[in-house]
Symmetry: C2
Subunit: 230 residues, 2 copies
Amino acid sequence: MKTKEKIIVLMSGGMDSTVCAAIAHSEFYDIHALHINYGQKTETREEQSFNDICSYYSIDNRLHVDIGYLKHIGGSSLLDTSIEISKADLLSKEIPNSYVPFRNANMLCIAVSWAEAIKATKIFIGAVQEDSSGYPDCRKDFFDAFQLMINQGTKPDTHIQIITPLLNMSKKEIIHTGNNLNAPLHLTWSCYGSEDKACGICDSCALRLRGFAQAECIDPIDYAIVPKYL
Amino acid sequence: MKTKEKIIVLMSGGMDSTVCAAIAHSEFYDIHALHINYGQKTETREEQSFNDICSYYSIDNRLHVDIGYLKHIGGSSLLDTSIEISKADLLSKEIPNSYVPFRNANMLCIAVSWAEAIKATKIFIGAVQEDSSGYPDCRKDFFDAFQLMINQGTKPDTHIQIITPLLNMSKKEIIHTGNNLNAPLHLTWSCYGSEDKACGICDSCALRLRGFAQAECIDPIDYAIVPKYL
């Protein structure tokens, strides 16, 4: 039997990274799951989802990394309890205050270090450019630049590729893809604000709920509030 | 009085980053010092040097970040006690086993997050391409690629520049520059192998000792062994 190609999937426990894992799983890779805690308010709930989703896919190679230093550095409502998380404004062109400075670059660097150490060839990340919150580190130009930086900064015999299967998908398409692949969307957690029931009003909940509305199907998780405009 | 420009200097406690800090200090910046522990064997000694050097320069803004996850990821003799640190072979073209996968990228990402949060404009790093150990993440091409990645991955109004003043210096030139600027070389620690007296035989000691020999001056720190070929 041919050995499966070793890859890393960044898995937050949220819907996007779970659909990203579902895509990787459908391509028969040997998945190593990387979960990163960066001091966000809903970490405990996300970690539970991460573990549940790994178990669903029988992924035993799990690495949990704590980069709580981003919380000390601050600069984001996701990390700093003195900044209130803005209510969603899906029409705004502003970068929301939930932006964590350079978060995706920090997370990808950890994935590259792990990939180089275990000789994994690909890193899957469920970043979304279209229909997203406008974070600068979720855009194609950023991932292209990151890829060039990997090529320059690793050993000559290391070849690691960043894969962003959701980059140009809408939330609606992500939900359809997830459903088609039997992704365990009922196990995922997206809310930035609370850990018992999803708040329904933060950016992340609003984008998710709008996606389910557009996909014309029911979100399997519970919400405290479902805003009327959806 | 004009407010000084805020910058970040990566300071390991070693000689190169101390000379880098001396250069930044001579240019009258408001220095924020970043020290990163990545689970290396000589961390305690390096941290002592870091604090002593910050005190020498009256730097109060110090951030100590632990990225011990690199130790779990492994892949380097600096981190893994089961891999013996190679004795120096300064003529070898091979990347030595002390290479820590993608270490500089991980460290620079933390610096960028901090810089974006506090609105610092420059990150000084004492990397050396010439006369170095041949690590892929110490080369100009890597830093150029990293700069482009910062430009793409941060907010439109963020402008952060990576500064590598030592990149093309030999160890001899670094030592001369340090002496000319009164850098506290007596407070620095470079050895990879031990914490009481520098071992004299690891890559880092060998490069440092050869530099002092070429600069025709005395290294102010103590060594357990000074190899005869120097």
